[in-house]
Symmetry: D2
Subunit: 318 residues, 4 copies
């Protein structure tokens, strides 16, 4: 099910970077939900970034084709599309037989034999626009249940001219009840990990205290229950435990504390300098990137992190 | 599908720590595979640890009930069980109404209302024995394809008397071809992340350079293609790239380089000292642990990491 | 998912006719359900038939291994097993290289290459015992919701000495609400059809008026709404429509009327007379059946029909 | 997964009869398949029927949005859409609060509370256009493997003025190998049954000898192996058995003989005469149909039967 996320609140995405359109289908959204177009436009705008954030300037007009009648969901599939308006892909002709380093060109060729080389094809970051649409609908559903999802850039690599940077995004979920999740293989933290690692450039994931917890002693790590007197002094701790090293999930199930996790992203792999590519005959050839490439994608990725988190939670509570 | 892992090579596990048995069903294993009983016994022994590794001394005798005829798999479900031989659970009577800190007692109660409090019930680490059986069968299948999976403890927390430690386990997969995996939501790295985060105590996951990659520049992070002359100098790099910062997966699909990932585990949360528990009426009560508790589970978890990795890869290539 | 039925209330079965055991795992049953052992024993007894109903006389002792604590379900997987007590399978030695006509011997060999030829192996009707266990648990759940499932033999083929017969079983579901089911591919009638056609020997399925509806005019077929005055005259029609030609399902969703469907079963294909078999080299060889073979399985299949119906409904409402 | 068919070769459909578009996404089609546009147009034309076959005259222009590059599939999702060009739905205003007899109006209202009443909404037969697109792609894939699927109207109800008729469609699959299918719950015949019963108006399904087999003796029903001399006399019987009462599937797995099954369809339930509807307050109100309604849909349904059969087989062999 590589193009479908979720089992109850499901998002299927489709589309290549330089095909006719990208888009998706949300299946499993309950009937009667009011669609908030402003939220959808805001989320798309967050992903698109401000002026100069990406060199691709086409507006991402989302057209909803089904599943909504008079502003409310019908419980039937919500299909949407975003047409690709920039048709000129001649920039990419020289890449037809080249595998760029760090990209998925080579692995797609190994996996499928036949591929669309233009702008990364299906592997393009442009696919995340469809995730943001699905995530916005999930957020509308979660908002009705009082659940809030908010991510931010926690740290950024050092910027350098003609180079690129990565960073870490932290996401916090609040307003949800205890008891969300499943044991064993369906753990909420495992589903969040899969959701985050499915985002392009993601290379690490941790809950709560994360990798630092590996070096703690049990007595340092363990989240102790709040006493009544403690609760008075710590009004912001959601009233259950004095610390939140576990990140709000125990045994795969939420305990009601904020769910906190971080995702590490490696730097953009296309850099504005001559690049050695492998060709399909095994030779090395130099290529000068002229396409549209961000130097840092972290700020635009925040809303994608939120979208995937919203889809994950909606799959449990939707 | 919280008790089932995989979609093609599937493992379903069952069982509570102090019920009649734990066990599982492997569905989707091809017919004709020779079952290597020695490997199975060895893997169970690795999980059980050496003398003193766990205070629970019962032998884990695995009985295979179906799916095998004259030493070969039939392509039908392989059911197995491990009877729980120590029946005395009176140690746990005082925990009937208590939620221990750091454990899943509270979240299971919130999720299911009704629970088996004895020894962690379904949330007990004992469930991982069933994963090791499934993983051993997956390893037999992968071995026939030349694929090898090997994990080790990379770092351990500092030991302290009457306390507990966690650590980091690194796993390396070799011998697989390029082209394993799927794009978008079915990425091999996302499935590995979910597999690892489903292991009890897992709190972080990273591929290749991991969180460190977030602070690298693109020119430092990017894995450049090997030149022929480079290949001569670096015979161990599997002939594709000069570094392996991505951990062997690009765009969710293996590139043929070793697949390398690390999982962080928090310390054991039961510590041999008086512990404040929450009871079902919201009061704090002190409990003195007398059960069977390891001070460090990392060495026993290595084979569980390998088992989950084997199940993940078998699901793609099986 | 060939050995698993359902997506929310799931039954996985395992076991070969002459292996160590058959059994299964029910996953997705809610926590807190009281297990009615008497019902379970009764259902097993209905499947086993009265004296002489089957030549296989071993008792089907069901052992539940997990998922139940102090008589109630835990919400965790309910694993169960039935040991195969008759170990002598030498009766079947001569069948090692023979494909009996009408059986799945040949198709299993084509599908798996390697097979267990003893007593039909995995294809044996004995597998349905595991379905009856799963169905009994589903019935306990449905009974709490007031839903009742009852099947009966509607017609039987004419009995003949040294021959075998099939027949038709009708099943009626009552006490359920309107609104159960899904549109398009998840139609309740489609799921019931798949459930019934998965039973050994099933060869036809129809809802309500069934095949006869194909020859009706629309004005004859269409179920008209009851008037108030009609309701007075037809107190047994569940108050919605004057007829029930659709069998209680419209657009894949229940309308609250009784759900009525029929399943046709072909006769038992092993007959007590010399039989021409195909061998693996393509030659015809004569075999004299000496195993355990019913002449008519319809009465024993009634409870299997109910079990599969219960599992289907539980998957929607559980 | 009510809007998705299949687990490996998957079709998801979307769209309401009077929304902006209907369409779908095919996921799991292998890369490199040549798309035959003529076949696609032909199939759509078969569904649309000849002049006068349906009163809805808009052309069904299929636009493929993704998954295809230079005439070949990429292995990525193939999204397609058919815009709904007739926007005037005022014909349906009077149906906003009415439940027509025989339709899914009432059951959708019970299932979803909120619904699109125009032209049947999601329950409209128009949704089958998306199935025909998916089926056409499946047929292209099967054709490469030499597998052929052909259906025909076997019998029709008697036509009558101002009334409607149903009938029976028979479908035959040839050119496939033995060994397709799965045992137990994944039986090929069970999947075909679910596929057929998911088609609007389907009310019965049978394989091979079908319901007639229920009245046969075992000696009449059983398909005996061909002898060499028999093969000479019966060159058309595919060389395995002398009869094909089982319809080409044994134990859920194909035996290589033609796969033969029949589906019964009840008559169209909208008839050109005053009709008593239920309103949402429980009163009976008379409605005069003025919309677009076929008197017999059987000829147009033949290609839908083939499409669902092709999708079913592609899910096993794709």
């Amino acid at each position: 099910m590589s193009n479908t996320f979720g089992t109850r609140f499901k998002l299927t995405t489709y589309g290549e970077s330089h095909g006719l359109a990208i888009g998706g289908v949300v299946d499993g959204c309950p009937a009667g939900l009011v669609i908030d177009n402003d939220l959808l436009v805001d989320e798309m705008s967050r992903r698109h970034g401000g002026p100069g954030a990406t060199t691709r300037q086409e507006p991402d007009n989302v057209v909803i084709l089904s599943g909504i009648y008079q502003g409310r969901t019908l419980g039937t599939p919500i299909a949407f599309e975003i047409r690709n308006q920039e048709a000129d892909s001649s920039d990419y002709d020289e890449l037809r037989d080249l595998f760029r380093p760090g990209h998925a060109d080579y692995t797609y060729a190994m996996r499928y034999s036949y591929r669309d080389h233009r702008g990364g094809g299906r592997a393009s970051g442009r696919e995340t626009a469809a995730r943001v649409v699905g995530g916005a609908i999930a957020k509308m559903l979660l908002r009705e249940k009082g659940i809030n999802i908010e991510a931010k850039v926690l740290s950024l690599g050092v910027d350098a001219e003609h180079d690129s940077t990565g960073g870490i995004i932290e996401c916090t979920i609040t307003g949800h009840p205890a008891g969300i999740g499943n044991p064993i293989f369906g753990k909420l933290n495992a589903q969040l990990a899969a959701a985050m690692m499915s985002i392009p450039s993601a290379i690490g994931f941790e809950m709560g205290a994360g990798f630092a917890a590996a070096m703690m002693k049990g007595s340092e790590y363990r989240d102790e229950w709040c006493h009544t007197e403690t609760l008075i002094d710590n009004p912001t701790n959601n009233h259950l435990t004095m610390t939140n090293h576990c990140g709000g999930i125990q045994g795969g199930i939420s305990n009601g504390m904020p769910i906190v996790f971080r995702t590490a992203f490696h730097p953009v792999v296309t850099i504005d300098r001559p690049t050695e590519c492998l060709d399909s005959k095994g030779n090395i050839r130099t290529w000068n990137p002229r396409g549209r490439h961000d130097r840092c994608h972290l700020h635009r990725t925040v809303v994608v992190v939120e979208a995937m988190a919203a889809l994950t939670i909606a799959d449990f509570v939707g």
